[in-house]
Every structure is written in structure tokens, then in C-alpha cells.
Symmetry: C2
Subunit: 679 residues, 2 copies
């Protein structure tokens, strides 16, 4: 038999230009993957608020049986050094670390993993010790690793590591003693702290935007400043100031003003959205721009910029924030129409098409043409509108119809502004298709309007809230729940009477940590719609209304209670722990929120006419309540106290009294870790 011996060929039998392109460092044995929370692999930022604890998880996988260690690294972009938090093993190659986001700004995070050579050796030595197989050569390997670690350490750590290395080699001592010394846990910690990270693997950095707390938890009150005048007079910033205590007493955090700019005369809208109004009619505040100026001017009838500054200061002194409405559209009288005709789309006959969404027509408004060759100039001008108001002290904006402007514009605009002013927030008034709403959230909007306004059934609300609290969506899209807006008077409020006003208010303010109402129509229970529309009759959009803020209003008292309850209950200041509990009555919706020691259970009846009652089956485990435990519930609105036990509870709701019950739950508190909060 002849022997034929193959040899690795001197020249590879085939060749490829790419085949020898080695990675930068082939000794990075750890693979980092499934890092989260992270959106679309880091393309969009995760959203959190100041002080939040972020729970970061990642897979760190390495070949063989070596021990893997890792950290999460984090910094505020351009503003702080990297901090590191050690990843703890969850088993099965999954790791976790918690990180406190203690500063507003755009953060970047990375996960880094490496092989801990000493820990791997330690682990193997434990097994050898169990088998009674420890040899001097094993300890010599450990000593070498300790000496290596010493070269990376300083001062006392270095000395301790060197001393331990020497001790392991000291054959004058029995091997059992040296093995015990080698297995000491403090030595393991010390050596691991100085592990060799030169072949560590890092994930791509990914962004987390940390906003002020009010981006997550706030109650907004929308008020037309022109409605604050004395009988028959156009309100001003000065008269609006007199309303600040009223808004504050109800417990609102943010006073939101519809556009305050000069209003065009061309195609001005009259009462009830009619055409042909003249200068004697005030027009719609959204028809922005007149000879007096555009988006950086204030309507002369409201006062001066100085008056506006004074309103802002008065509000700030009271602890109330002011949000401005920014609507990127121009009345035909807007100065930009003449100064920058290239920012508008001209038809073959040279005219500009007014905004429309057939059959709706907005004759008093021109849209901007984002397909213009001059898009850079247009973008910069629009961005500078925000900058103008930020320079005057405004940090909260409600953006009108952002979904009719390109998503990439918003990404650029918001990032550009937040780079300098990370505290600024943007609420997207985007009542549009779901994926477009989420796209706007992804590129930077701090909150978004929602479909809550039209979700009036139990199934509809449950389905929608389940979607909103799902990971990724919950990480990027912060819902803002509005029972009404100047554009929308929903059927429930038209026909449901006071119980509807109370129920929709309580749903908004307990289902969502961020909510708002358009007042004073809300607390005064205005419910008349323009016939054949879902809009208010005698809408403030087209005429000046005046409101009696001294009129007694049970709804106003409920608003005040609700806002006080929200402030007192951290559980209501977040949405991620929202959980629905089954009820056997199709009108009764029951849900809970939990945060730390705080547990709140809410039951709302969606029947605004008749008394409804039924059994609720509470998911006690999700509330951290033992099935055998008797726990106390306190009705924060109605005032009653009950002792409950077990998962079945009876609720009985008379909408003519109160259509909802908000229960604070007092239970035995265990470790916070008992509950798997979604951080």
C-alpha cells in the first residue's frame, strides 16, 4: 500500500480578492447582539426622562466555556464622559445592567464584552478542586494571569495582585492552602477589575434621548388667548395673565396657546368656517401671516412681544409652563409669499394652490413646497422659527399637522434644535395613519396626539392601549390623550352629558400619563356641534368667544381632583405598567398601574346613562398582591374604603354620581424586584 500524503498547498487552489481581508482584530471572541432597548438597530433614539433607570440587556456570546464579562457604557453626547455599569449575567448568555439617566440630553450607549481570563481559570480550578485534581501547573497558570493583571493595575491593587501571584507559586505552602487562596472571591473581583479588555467587542453606539420629566408626565390646558378679554373685547396677553391662577388651581402643568401670530386677510374664514369674511371678523389663528409679520411676529391685537414675554414670566413664576402652537403654513398675506415665492408650489397658471384634503378646503392657507430646489433655505427658516421662540424662553411646542411635512425635515429640525436645547419638547398634532405617526415619533417628536379621542368602546380602548404600551412603540411614541380639541367634539361629549365629560377626562388622565383638554369648553361642558360635523358649533377657531370662569362646574372640580391624584400617585405618571383586568360587564373597563409601592386600580363605566355593575377579576400577581392577603382599597374620587381579598371584586358604577372609581391599593410591600417592571 502506497502512502499518499496531502499538504496544505503553497498557493491556495482558488483565490478571491476578498478572501484574505481579515477583520481588524480576530481575537475579539465575544459577539455582542440583541442589545436593547434599542430601536431599529440604533437608527432611532429610545426615549426616556430625567432620572429614569434604564435596564439595558444584551447577549454576550463567546466560544467555549470561558467566562464572559461586560459593561454598558454611556455618556451625554458632547457633554459628559463615559460612565460604565457592569453587566450581570441573567443566565443563558444574557446580561443586564441598570443605568440612571441623570441628565437631560442626547445620550449614546454601547455594550462592551470581553473574555475574563482569570475568572475562566477560577471557574475551571473550582471544578478541578472538586475532582481533587489540582496540580502545581494549574496554580502556575493562575499566577501568570494574576501577574498579567498586575501590569494593568496601579498602586495597592497592583501590589495585591503581584503578592497573590507569588503566593500561588510558593511551593513551601501546601497546594490545598494555595488553592483556597486562589479561589478567594475578593481575589476574583480584584483580578476581574483589571481584566484584559484589549480584545473586547463593542456594539455600535445607539442613542437614547432623555427629556425633562414633563415630556412623560404633564397635564395640558389649551386656551385661546383672544377669548380672555372683557365682554366683547379681543383678549390680549395681559388679559390672558389673569387666567393663570384659574389654570393653575385646576392643577395643570402646561398652558398651551393656539397660534399667536398675525392673521391673514385674504380668504379669511368667518364664523362656522364660512368664506368671505372681512377685517371685522377675527379669522382663524392658523391662517398665519399678514403685513405685520409671520411666524416670528405676534398678532397686534394680542399685544406686543414684550407683553408675551411678561405672560411667559408670570406663568413661570407660578410654576406653569407655556406651550406655543407652531403651524408651518402661510396665509396668502404672509411676508414669505412675496419674499420667497420659491417656497411655494406654483400651478401652470402661476397661482398657488391653497391647502386642501378633498372635500376639506383651507382657502386661507398656502402649504409650503418641500420639494422646492431651495429646501435648505426653507428648512433653516422653519427651524429658526423655533429658535426665535426658544430665545424668548419657550421650551414646549405643539406642532400643527407635522404629518404634512416630510419626516426627514422633522428629524433634521428637531435634532438641530435639541443639540443646543435638549430640554425643548415637541408634541405632534398628527391625526394620521399609524405608521406615519410612529415615524414622526421615531425621528424625534416628544409626544403625539392619538386615536384616544375616537376610541369609545371597551374593546377599542383595550386594543389601542395594548398597542401603545408594546416595547419599541412605548420606547419611542409617548401618547398624549385629548378628550377634545378645537377640531374635534366627539360623539360621546355631544350626547353623553356630564358623565361623558367626567369619564373621558378620567380615562385620558389615568390611561395616559400625558394628557390635555381644550378649555374652557371642557369644564363648562360645551357639547353643541356644528350640524353635520364633529366640530364645535360657534367654534373659537373662527370667532371670539368669552367664558365665565366663575360659573360653578362639577367637571372643573373633577379635573382638579384628577390632577391632584395624578401628582400624588407615581403609578399614574407612567404608562409602561398599564394592565387591563377582565370584567364581566361590557361597559366596565378596569385597569391598573403600579410603580414602586404605589398601586392604582381604575374602573370606568362607558355607559353614561345607566347604572352598571359587575365582577372584576384582578390579576393579583401583577399587582404584587398575595391571593390570601386582605388588602385595602381607597376610592380616591368617591372617598370610600374597602377591604378586598382574592382576585374577584364587585364594582357598581352609577354614572349620574360618578362614572369612574380610582382606587389606591394598600398592600404588603415586598422587594421592588418582585415586580418585573418594564424599565
Amino acid at each position: 500500500m502506497t502512502t499518499s500524503v496531502g499538504k496544505a498547498p503553497a498557493v491556495a487552489p482558488t483565490s478571491s480578492s476578498e478572501s484574505d481581508s481579515f477583520p481588524e482584530d480576530g481575537r475579539r471572541r465575544v459577539v455582542v447582539s440583541s442589545v436593547g432597548p434599542r430601536i431599529a438597530n440604533g437608527r432611532f433614539a429610545v426615549k426616556r426622562t430625567e432620572g429614569d433607570v434604564l435596564r439595558v440587556r444584551a447577549d454576550l456570546v463567546a466560544d467555549g466555556h470561558d467566562v464572559v464579562a461586560g459593561v454598558v457604557r454611556a455618556r451625554v453626547v458632547g457633554a459628559s464622559d463615559w460612565v460604565e455599569r457592569k453587566l450581570a449575567s441573567l443566565g443563558n448568555d444574557r446580561f443586564e445592567a441598570e443605568l440612571t439617566l441623570d441628565r437631560v440630553g442626547r445620550w449614546e450607549l454601547e455594550v462592551e464584552g470581553w473574555i475574563d481570563a482569570f475568572a475562566s481559570w477560577h471557574h475551571e480550578l473550582e471544578r478541578r478542586e472538586e475532582l481533587g485534581e489540582v496540580l502545581d501547573i494549574d496554580l502556575a497558570i493562575g499566577a501568570r494571569l494574576l501577574a498579567d493583571a498586575a501590569t494593568r493595575a496601579e498602586a495597592s491593587d497592583r501590589a495585591r495582585l503581584d503578592a497573590a501571584a507569588k503566593a500561588l507559586l510558593d511551593r513551601a505552602e501546601p497546594i490545598e492552602l494555595r488553592t483556597t487562596l486562589a479561589l478567594a472571591l475578593d481575589l476574583l473581583a480584584l483580578a476581574s477589575a483589571h481584566a484584559d479588555r484589549s480584545h473586547a467587542t463593542r456594539s455600535e453606539p445607539w442613542p437614547v434621548v432623555v427629556d425633562p420629566v414633563h415630556a412623560r408626565f404633564a397635564a395640558w390646558y389649551e386656551l385661546f388667548p383672544r377669548a380672555t378679554g372683557e365682554e366683547g373685547a379681543h383678549g390680549t396677553f395681559r388679559t390672558a395673565e389673569t387666567w393663570l391662577p384659574y389654570v393653575l388651581e385646576m392643577g395643570f402643568d402646561v398652558l398651551y396657546l393656539p397660534p399667536i401670530h398675525p392673521i391673514g386677510l385674504a380668504f379669511r374664514k368667518g364664523p362656522e368656517n364660512t368664506l368671505g369674511a372681512g377685517p371685522e371678523q377675527p379669522g382663524s389663528p392658523w391662517a398665519i401671516g399678514a403685513p405685520e409679520g409671520g411666524h416670528t411676529a405676534v398678532h397686534p391685537a394680542l399685544g406686543t412681544l414684550d407683553d408675551f414675554d411678561r405672560l411667559l414670566k408670570s406663568a413661570r413664576d407660578l410654576g406653569l409652563k407655556v406651550a406655543l402652537d407652531i403651524a408651518f403654513q402661510a396665509s396668502p398675506d404672509h411676508p414669505w409669499v412675496r419674499q420667497h415665492p420659491e417656497w411655494f408650489k406654483h400651478r401652470p397658471d402661476g397661482t398657488i394652490q391653497y391647502a386642501e384634503n378633498p372635500p376639506k378646503k383651507y382657502q386661507d392657507v398656502y402649504p409650503f413646497d418641500f420639494e422646492t430646489e431651495s429646501w435648505r433655505e426653507l428648512w433653516a427658516a422653519l427651524r429658526d422659527v423655533f429658535r426665535f421662540w426658544i430665545a424668548r424662553g419657550v421650551t414646549i411646542f405643539r406642532v400643527d399637522n407635522p404629518h404634512t411635512k416630510p419626516v426627514p425635515f422633522w428629524q433634521w429640525c428637531i435634532e438641530s434644535i435639541k443639540a443646543d436645547h435638549p430640554e425643548v419638547t415637541f408634541l405632534a398634532e398628527a391625526f394620521t395613519r399609524p405608521r406615519l405617526k410612529y415615524a414622526l415619533a421615531n425621528v424625534g417628536f416628544s409626544q403625539g396626539y392619538t386615536y384616544f379621542t375616537w376610541r369609545s368602546t371597551k374593546a377599542g380602548l383595550m386594543e389601542y392601549l395594548t398597542e401603545l404600551t408594546r416595547p419599541d412603540i412605548a420606547d419611542t411614541f409617548r401618547p398624549s390623550f385629548w378628550p377634545n380639541t378645537p377640531d374635534i367634539l366627539p360623539d360621546d361629549l355631544q350626547y353623553g352629558g356630564r358623565p361623558a365629560f367626567l369619564a373621558r377626562l378620567i380615562l385620558a388622565g389615568t390611561l395616559s400619563s400625558h394628557y390635555g383638554i381644550y378649555g374652557p369648553v371642557y369644564e363648562l361642558e360645551e357639547h353643541l356641534a356644528r350640524p353635520g360635523s364633529g366640530e364645535y358649533a360657534k367654534s373659537e377657531k373662527y370667532e371670539i368667544r368669552q367664558w365665565d370662569r366663575n360659573r360653578p362646574s362639577p367637571t372643573r372640580r373633577a379635573i382638579t381632583s384628577l390632577n391632584a391624584i395624578r401628582r400624588a400617585h407615581p403609578a399614574l405618571q407612567r404608562n409602561e405598567t398599564l394592565r387591563f383586568h377582565p370584567t364581566d360587564n361590557e361597559f366596565i373597563l378596569c385597569y391598573s398601574k403600579i410603580w414602586g409601592e404605589d398601586v392604582v386600580v381604575v374602573a370606568v363605566s362607558l355607559d353614561f346613562q345607566h347604572r352598571q355593575s359587575g365582577w372584576v377579576t384582578l390579576d393579583l400577581a401583577s399587582l404584587g398582591i398575595d391571593p390570601e392577603e386582605t388588602f385595602q382599597v381607597h376610592d380616591l374620587l368617591g372617598g370610600g374604603r374597602h377591604a378586598w381579598r382574592g382576585s374577584r371584586s364587585y364594582v357598581d358604577i352609577d354614572p349620574q354620581a360618578l362614572p369612574a372609581q380610582i382606587f389606591a391599593v394598600r398592600r404588603k410591600v415586598r422587594s421592588e424586584r418582585d415586580f418585573d417592571y418594564y424599565l
Copy 2:
């Protein structure tokens, strides 16, 4: 009252170095996201096989109400031009296209989306027509869009577009007629085909690896060539050739040979894994390397490389593929130990530590040191081992213990080889932690060994298969099911008798489209384990066994039937449609697979001693069967035919006869689109 007018400040009130960094093209209004199937945002390749239809989905979101259009673009990297498939709208901003992967290789895909200006105008014109509000100016806008499209078209398309533009402007014709002309669907298609894509948005390209069909659907047979000799003699490549018809007749596609290289003498293992064997013992084929050569040599006792080539050719002529086992480890006698000491880790005393995983010891094997400074040379040498055998005609490799070599090495090695030889496939023998198994799949292994070998309960099998058929995992990890291997003789086979051999075989071959057995121990029903181990007694790993291939074997007949059934039934050639159906007997597992017109339902009893019967509740909808329909089932193993109706069926399984039933279902066939196959 004084009027104060704000102006956009000439200099921005704040500045940021980044704030004016505009995107390359701000007019790309379409956002492309949620593209799939795509793994970790394109970091790893989706796996498919030649001829598969890939269903690509993406969100294409644009502001406003314009009509969005898009395509999937695809090409074989370095080997073909881009092809495009139009995306069809699924509603709600989601789109889909199907693409036939007609060529083996590494593909790259992109999704591209743009605003279709003419289609948007068309859509708006439809609404205006309904409202009876079409004006000449509207048609003039359409004419301008058509004239624009004409500039992008050629020849007859150009002429048709220009003519249509002119016709729209021809006021001699009534506007109703021109509107009808403008709304013609063929005009819409023509204009859309020449839409302006200069501001289109493209996703990042992402990879799809298309393998030969046998990467997905194949039956392997593992055979030690040294066991093929005449009574008492060491088998050779020549004697192995005489086994080819035997393997072929059973219906196998791949003959897989354990390592064929010279075996080291140092620390050679003797029978039953004993130490101290001498040259009179054959040693373990995995102790690779001796003075005669290493990974590119053949064991002299097996013959020459020419003999190996002849075996390969004989197999190929019969339509049988040969897979080689590549084990990257070296006996102390391997030439590389002297030639490349830098590729091994030396202990403080200068010795090399043999491979071990306490308490298991592999004294006859040195591991390579992937942390060596010379990692580039080591990587290249290992890669060239594959190249050597590829040059001889081997295209299928089974890789021993890949999980003890760095994952990044495999990524580089497999990509390097597949760049020149995309038809080559690699089966990972990685019985390790799940995330490490999936990591190896992600970086390129074509298939992987699985936990099937130890999953013997109904719940265990259902849970595991549910995991394996989940998106992302199913897209990257192709399971290969093995009821036994030379390392593993599971309890079921030790104690279950012939019913166990049949049941485990049928489970492997019907649950997974890719499976294999280690023979002839399997068909000869060898079931004796080395005491206290889950390994075979008298294991072929350490001694030469000889087998009587003429011995009558019912298991062999079942193997032959199973492989014939698999070939006849496309449903069994894939895993993605696997669905379990509830049964009321804890021993009876019932599942189905469906592909096109082919529907197969399998019922297996996991009780190998006693007769079991029970009711199955078939999910008829998933099988495309109407609840009112009577459908025929044909037991492909046992031969019976039954007419079933409705979801409840009774099964009765006597393991002493046959522990499983494989039913072909004949039903009324509807459109293929009735079933939501996961493509």
C-alpha cells in the same frame, strides 16, 4: 397699542456646529423601514435555497396623502445585475413583493420607495371628479406631469405620454372627456413606469444567502469507512465504495465520513475510551495528524488521495454526495505542532494542555490557540484545509465542535470560501448553549445539530420545534435532526426497542427537512451503551467494527420508506409550515406540514411499549380544509385510507406494529394564496 413685529433673526440666536448639516437630499420624502425578512438589520444573512420565492415586506411611509411606489432590488453579489420587483400595497403603508431566488450565491437586496407624482394627482382627480369639481387648471397640472414623465421615457412610451399631455390641454374637447382620458388606468401605469425616482429613498442593502436545495432538504448517512473492510480488516476507500449502493437504496442523499486523516499515536485512545493504547489499536479518527500528515492527508490504511477521489467520483456517478468531517484540533503528532508551535497555548512549563472539558478529557488532542498573535496565519491555514478538499470536489462539510472556535473566525472562513464557492455548505456539530448555536448559524453555518436528540417528550418536542420555526431563527438556523451520533446513544434507543428506532427516525425525518442517522448501528438497532454513559458500547470511535449489511432489518425498510415519502412530498421538504394539532393523549404527537397542494399530517406515539389512542383536533383552516368538507387521508406507511370530516379524528397507534402514521391528505385545492405560507 403698539405693534411689535418679530423677524427671523439674521443670525441664529444659538448655534451648533451640527445644526446646519443638512442631509444629502432633503427631498427624499419616503421613509423606508421594517424591511424583512432581514436579520439584525442586515448584520447577518437571511438563508434561502435555490428557486425559493422570497416574500419581501417593507413600510414605505411618506408625509401627507401622496401615492407612494417602490421596488425591491436584488442581485447576486459580483455575479449579476440588479433586478427589480414592484412592491404592491398591503394597505396601512405596508408593501410586499415576491422575488424568485434563481441562483445559488450571496445576494444583496434593497428596498427603494418614491412619491409617484402622477398617481397622486390621479388619485386627487378621482376625488375631484366625484365632487364634480374638475377645472382646467387641474388637467393642466396633470399635463405637466405627463410631459415630465415623457422626458424620462423613450420611443413609443415617450410619444404616448406627450400625446396624452397634449390631449389633456386641448380645450376643444369637453372637460368631462379629458377627465376620463386622464383617469385611464393604462395611462396611470405608463406614467408610473416613468415616475421621477431621483428623490427615491433606498434602504441599506442586506444579504440573503442562497444555498443549493440540499442545504434545506437532505437525508444524511454517517459511515466509518474503516468499518467497511472484510472480516477483521481495516476498511478502505475501495471497500467503502462497495457500500454506496446500500446507502443509495435506503434513499440517502449524503454519505458523511468521519475524519479520514492520519491518526496520532501519542496518547492514542483504546477501546472504550481507555488510555495507553499502542500502534496495534486504531485510535480515534478525531485525533488528527501523524508524521504522515495532518488535515490535508488521508490515513494510509484507508488508501491514497487517488482512492479518495475515486470514491468521490463513484458516489457522484450514483447521485450521492459525500460530506467530510473537518475537526480543527491536532494530535500531539500533527506536523503543525512542530511547524507552528505558536498556534498552540503553552503552559508556564512549556507543555501544551490537551483539550478538556472537566471531567471529560481528550488526552489525544491539542486545541488550537485562537488568541495567538499569529491568528491571521492560523485562520488562513484552517481555511485552506477546506479549500484543499473543495479542490478535490468535496462541497459538503460537517464541522466538528465549531463552538470551541471563535465565532468571528467562522464568519471570515465561511464568507471567504463561499465567495469563491457559493455551493459549499457547512453543518455545525455544535451541541452547546442555544445562543451560541444561533450565533454560529448567523455567521454562516448552513445547518446545525440540535437538541432533538434529547427531546423525547411531547411538550419538549413541541416547545423546541416552535422555537425553531419562529421567524429570524427559521430564517438563519436550519436544524439537522439526528436520532443518534457516534457520541450519543439516547435513552429512548437504549431502552425503547424497535418502536423507538422507528419513532425517532420518523420524528427526525418529518419534523425536520434535514436529518441524518449514524449507521449501520441505526438500522441494525444497536442499543447497548457503555455502562454509566450515554455513548455506544464498543464505540467505533475507538475500535474497528464490522457490520452485516445483509442482515434483514425492519428499521432499514422503514428508513427506505421514509426517504421515499420525503422525496414524494414537498411539504416534508421544508419546516416553515409545521403546525402542531392538539391531541388528548399525552403520548401522541400530531403535526402537519403543507406546501402548495401537498398536505401531510403525522401522528407519532412516544410510548414505545403500549398501544395508545386518542382524539386529534385538527386545525383545518391551517390545512386549507373546509370544516364541511370530507377529505381523504392515506396512511403512507401503514397503507390504510380513511375519509375524514371535521376537525376531530381518532388515532390508534400500536407501537409493536408501527409507532407512527404519516397521512397524505387529499383535499379540494383552492388558490395557493388561500394559505399564508411563511416564505
